[in-house]
Assembly symmetry: C3
């Protein structure tokens, strides 16, 4: 929590290489006048920094940084490795990632590299070192690359990835018999004689061994961290500025905690309207109602997640300022939403909110992505709200320490395990955790998302940890011994580290006697009713336990059981089911809950309480009436 006391700040993303140098000063002046203090630059500029192999052209960037600094702006410099120029690809033709269908992913957009390609890793090290050496002293922060994993780029099925995977497996398992044994390769005669026989788990006749698939997901995540570390190593040789990476929404293919542990700040790119359209799972009526506002929990979830990834220090590096270009539909935000999104980030502890982008580009892929300025430099709708936020910030508290009664565990490894074996159509770990998060938000609670390496839960009244398919021993111990109420399940500890069903059968807890004896996945039109209201939906375990059920189905079978502080919930629940579960827990730990209406959410910092209304209509709350697409800030 090193950020406490910093001023809450605003910023923007700027591409000096897109505009004539004559405009730079006017741009910088206008940014400063608008209340911005941060500018991110450089992250796609490789073809201008090195137009031909070895032909370095860094003066223009130095000039741009100077102009920005002189206007009082601080610079975040991005390494340009998300966009290697054509000549880099010509030099390393096999550096292209390969998709699951076996097709090389061609040059012509961005992120066209395989994390495992050694030649490209060296190019990345080289250009990073050059930038770090030249600009290490003049920039206030760094960003590595751009949006790792975006466009499904974490996983590559290239030859380079295959060879690296074989080495990774050999390092992990030592000898091939150990791997065969660990994966159960005797099944279907999948046993290998040597590591170099192991292929990638794509294009198999039917599903590959889930142990094989999960190992490949873990390997792929490790490759991202290794790739990133090479840049950190070079930057730190020459610069003391903090380093960050801008994560995306719901990109879960690599372990963000692992990368976060290597850097000083986590940032993320928040596009509420695009995300609602292209990744939030919701009924059409819901998407209709929030088409111009976004989902009221999706951004908040990521704020809380990336606060954990950044160990307290986090920003929005790219905030949607108007219509975007890339979603199935790209409406304009309701007036007020840019301000609301900005304040929501601060309410969750952001140090800075930067808008993407300063001026809309008239060319190329994102020409329909709005900026704070239009292509002709006139002011776009969003800029007015940014100015308002800047004014409000002047009299607002600085960044404060975080407060939350509830922790919710989110584990990337569990996400991969569920993806490898969802067991039922549409079931995902991310979906399960988000469903539980939504229910906690409906109850008006502040939530900390915490990673699976957390061992100390003493700050919390309750911990929710659904779906942790593999539960490391020390986490199991920490959860069992926590003094707060801990809600586990479904699917907790269902697999060993190598994706085997353990014996004794899961979850095999010391502090709570419960056994999963059967697992079902349910059609969406076949919910199983709970006694007293709500339903199990999608995923349901049959459990045997000597303890009294906390929830049971209408036939009397236990659905959730508890012993002391430890509770196990054997099902994915519907909204009413989650609400009941949370009420039960809240009553036990003396935690006040609310029942917030759709689209209304509350978030507290140490000194403030924020009420957000995502609806297009005014809503009456205990904090007073909130205007459509607006918020109330109360001092506590």
């Amino acid at each position: 929590m090193t950020h406490v006391g910093l001023p809450r700040a605003l910023g923007t993303c700027y591409y000096p290489e897109h505009w004539p140098q004559e405009r730079w000063e006017a741009d910088a002046r206008m940014m400063a006048e608008s209340g911005l203090t941060w500018v991110r630059i450089g992250e796609f500029a490789w073809s201008r920094l090195e137009p031909r192999p070895g032909d370095l052209q860094l003066d223009w960037l130095e000039k741009a940084i100077e102009i920005l600094n002189e206007a009082g702006l601080k610079v975040v410099l991005g390494t340009p490795t998300a966009t290697p120029p054509r000549w880099v690809v010509d030099k390393h033709p096999d550096m292209l990632a390969v998709d699951e269908q076996g097709r090389p992913r061609a040059f012509g957009s961005r992120r066209h590299y395989c994390f495992s390609h050694e030649g490209y890793i060296e190019e990345s090290r080289r250009i990073t070192a050059i930038l770090a050496k030249r600009f290490g002293a003049s920039v206030a922060a760094w960003q590595t690359d751009n949006e790792y994993g975006c466009h499904d780029t974490t996983v590559s099925y290239s030859d380079a990835a295959c060879r690296a995977f074989q080495r990774w497996l050999e390092a992990r398992y030592g000898d091939i018999e150990a791997l065969n044994e660990a994966w159960g390769n005797v099944f279907w005669s999948m046993e290998y004689n040597r590591f170099d026989q192991i292929g990638l788990p794509n294009l198999t006749v039917t599903d590959p061994n889930p142990a094989h698939a999960l190992a490949f997901r873990r390997f792929s995540s490790d490759q991202v961290r290794e790739f990133n570390r090479v840049q950190l190593e070079e930057i730190r040789k020459y610069s003391k500025a903090p380093i960050s990476h801008n994560y995306m929404g719901q990109v879960t293919d690599f372990d963000h905690y692992a990368l976060g542990a290597d850097m000083e700040i986590a940032t993320w790119d928040s596009y509420p309207l695009g995300f609602l359209e292209d990744r939030v799972v919701a009924a059409p009526e819901y998407k209709q109602a929030f088409a111009r506002q976004g989902d009221a929990d999706f951004q908040a979830f990521h704020h809380d997640l990336y606060r954990a990834v950044g160990r307290g220090r986090w920003w929005i590096m790219e905030q949607q300022p108007g219509p975007v270009n890339w979603a199935p539909h790209n409406p304009a935000p309701l007036p007020g939403m840019v301000r609301l999104w900005s304040w929501e980030a601060f309410a969750h502890g952001a140090e800075a909110v930067c808008y993407f982008r300063w001026r809309q580009a008239p060319f190329a892929q994102e020409q329909m992505h709005s900026g704070l300025l239009r292509p002709d430099s006139s002011e776009a709708e969003g800029l007015r709200e940014v100015r308002q936020v800047a004014n409000e910030l002047a009299s607002a508290p600085k960044v404060e320490g975080n407060v939350a009664d509830v922790a919710l565990v989110f584990d990337y490894d569990a996400e991969w395990a569920w993806a490898v074996q969802p067991h039922g159509q549409g079931l995902s770990y991310f979906g399960l955790v988000l469903a539980q998060y939504r229910a906690l938000r409906r109850a008006g609670l502040n939530i900390d998302i915490v990673g699976p390496s957390t061992r100390d839960f003493s700050d919390y009244k309750a911990v929710f940890a659904p779906g942790l398919m593999h539960l490391p021993d020390d986490l199991r111990t920490a959860l069992e011994e926590a003094k707060c109420v801990v809600v586990l399940g479904p699917r907790t500890a269902a697999r060993t580290i190598d994706f085997e069903i353990p014996t004794p059968l899961p979850p095999s807890l010391d502090a709570l006697q419960v056994t999963v004896t059967r697992v079902q996945s349910l059609r969406s039109d076949c919910p199983v009713a709970l006694e007293g209201g709500g339903n199990a939906v999608g995923y349901l375990e049959t459990i045997a336990s000597e303890h009294e059920p906390v929830l049971e189905d209408s036939a009397g079978a236990p659905v959730a059981v508890q012993n002391g502080n430890l509770m196990y919930c054997a099902a994915w629940l519907d909204d009413e089911g989650w609400d009941r579960l949370i009420s039960i827990v809240a009553a036990q730990v003396d935690m006040v809950t609310r029942s917030l209406p759709v689209g209304v959410r509350v978030r507290r910092t140490q000194s403030q309480e924020f009420w957000f209304n995502y609806n297009a209509h005014a809503v009456q709350t205990e904090a007073g009436e909130i205007e459509p697409a607006s918020l109330i800030m109360r001092t506590l």
Copy 2:
């Protein structure tokens, strides 16, 4: 009908190679105590039988067979050719099948071989001979390979398949001019100069010539039979035990009659809940109502089909005992269904019902597939019902001769012809025959499914033969001369052997003057009403006939016509239409029909009448009230 008088038996599928040898005896003892008499083993064990090229390790299998035999269990030994180990693929890299998109189907699961690869055929012969020689005397039956065609593996677009197809065509047509003429290759200048110019019918710009596509389907089916025959040849050198293969549900890519003719017993793998989800075509409400019971006709259809394939001798080799792992949703069967499914098989004449699998595997692809035991060896829900069936069998009749008033022709060649040219979206021969089968079942009739080589229909009061697109001359004669009522159409005799529309126009029958003058396919929202009730749906022929119509549309156009025993129905009908058609036929042949409610079905053997209730609620019938998911057995 060689099976009459055998005791009805139970069994299971067991994988000794998955468990420590110390457990084998206890397992065997428990199987026997549970009332099982058959155990299938070995069919995926190649990597343990031959871990490296030529390194044979057969002792463990001998030990396993000994232990099972000593416990009083009879062994079915499977050849392990569905799962060639990695080293086999390394030796023959081009043995992998190639999918329709041109991608090799990689190692890492099962069935990763092309039936046309000569190197692999020899590997298959070699390992089969080795097993037959060593175990020919100690096993009670054989199974070749496993589930031919499962995972869409009958058809391969590999180079090996292409070369074999060219040879197959040359053998069939002799010279290239004959092929060009037969296929009408003058159309679109598709004429070839030599057989080695002929490619496979995938990835063409628009549809390939249907004659080309159909020839490739026939070739692909022949390759399965040839592959299987190599194993039969080796086994029979060393063993007198009967040989079987375990077919799947609705895998129609190869001619099961052809394989069946080469072996003593047909078996199949029955997964009612998985099949309902992933292959039965039905409204969501129907799938919801039967999600935990399965479709009330789908298994019965296959029982009747495989009875024909086995020329009277058939088993269930794999019976679902609880939730499976591979369907879009995997619920648990309603209590009672494992018993119901088992008895339904016996009612249709099964000699044995074996449950898949004895103990749930804790690892690899099928770890979520339930067994009779859980991974920790505790008893799963299904085992209780298996014990009940075993008890009931003790006092039940033995396997009896079959009785049926009605024959329904099912022809794999017609299935391929319709697939090559469905003419309308969603139309399939399988769907047409199943629709007619369902209607006959609603009428409470016992049905024999018969193959297209049937010439003697004297056992039957009525024969239904819809959709036989190519009608061989002698089958045509047999049907025209049958003494019972024969219902043909739609699409009967619509094509020559080489997929040409014949002149005179179809169906061109001697005993019934009717001509199809036009063919339509209909949108699902554009049914054509029949006078008196019911509709033509999907597929409708305009026919000209001098005979009185049996059914006509509301505009007075004939839809079905009859002369003497021979009837032609020119349309795919809806349920009401089929029911009317069957009533008309039943009245003519003095056949008593019922009108059974949804989910209730009747089946008679020589001495017993079985009433099955697939519903989740009790149903009142003439045989009395049947409990949910239960049955009534009456002695006749």
Copy 3:
């Protein structure tokens, strides 16, 4: 308008190579007796004209032409280049087109060539020259190739296409810096050093640069024109007969105006029922109501479009005469529709209507496509209606000059630009123009579709030109200076020639001050209501203008503005919106409009007024009651 005064004629498509020579005379006689005067032949006959390289067999074709000519029939001879025989592909293995997924499109159907393959271009030149030399004097017209672009064949991702694209770009941009600048390749470091580095815009990680994609679309269109020109060059060396090409419905991948400018006549292939099923975008209820009649505007649109492409001279080369074989569902036309479709073509100015095909082929891909005769040479249903049309033509006026109050601009380049950047799911330029065309038809107006090279609008009272994303300067001037009302927008002039957003912001008109300040795409469930009725749907621009709004949204924001003759409409409207817009314009220019019911349409020539009823029920109109699937012809 060179066609005025020609007799309206009928014809058919005939394949003498499919039938024994003995039938040819009887066929020719029967055609003539049925009232046909034109016969198209030869377009798929390469394998019979040249069965082996250089082995020319032209005598049979000469004989066929003789027989047809002797029966009084005029022949259109097609060049056979849509179906190169197998040996041509063996000679040029890399002539196959490559699909967007990178897969060669195999031999075995038709159109299996890449327009950019130089070897194949020479084969095409060679066979065309041979035919032109031999038959240049004996045929009355020519057709080049067959249905360019059908089966998605305009665009090929082959190596040949890539190299040709690089040359095309070099010719267009001269040096690589100019291209980088024009495309904005600085964005994401997509800058090239040399033209030979530029790949095709497929399989990129995320969207390619839209400038890149659009250039490739333009190049691909140019390649079709170049391919066609080679044939024109050869034919004109030896023949004075007019040359045509048979275009398809809604194939918009190449610029038909460009090809049309090179030839004397435009023809197209009209399959109303197939098109309704497989390309018309409409609600299921609409498709159900018109399943046997087709869409009441789709054919008319193409009649008007191809009249423009043919600069007044156009035919239907293939008219659906009964059920087709290739749509998702293939019902029979309602009795009367073949006549209706034929007369509708004449009402729009067709010189000839030819039916596809004379006799149904009993073999190969189109065996289920009905002809005027059945495969057994009996007369099919359609022929009766053709005879009726022939009789009616005897006393009908000849082809007349066209009359229309309204012009609607259709621009292929705009279609590609929208396809490259639809901005919202389901939005297309074709859809926008068709929606406006439908509204003009509902108003009972005669419409001329005109190309983007039109500069003289003096014949019209109103011009509609929606969606012209790039507006060339001289067209802009012509539209601004036109004396009639000109309705532009949405998206007019939104891009420079190189797909950049221009400054000043679009549409930047001299005669109307309006600026698009923001662009949105809308979910289909999020329409924006207009004040007074109707909605903006799908696509909506925010505009700033000093002029009074003609339409505004319910919040008072302008949606359409006008100054003098020039109007800009900033949205895609729903039916009510378009109707209101047209009413406003009609009132200004004193143009009488009707409000025609669904399925009823009117079309006038100089001396006749036609009323068409596409409905399956009779409709009362001011011209009297029209029978179902019928028409009324009134002399003016």
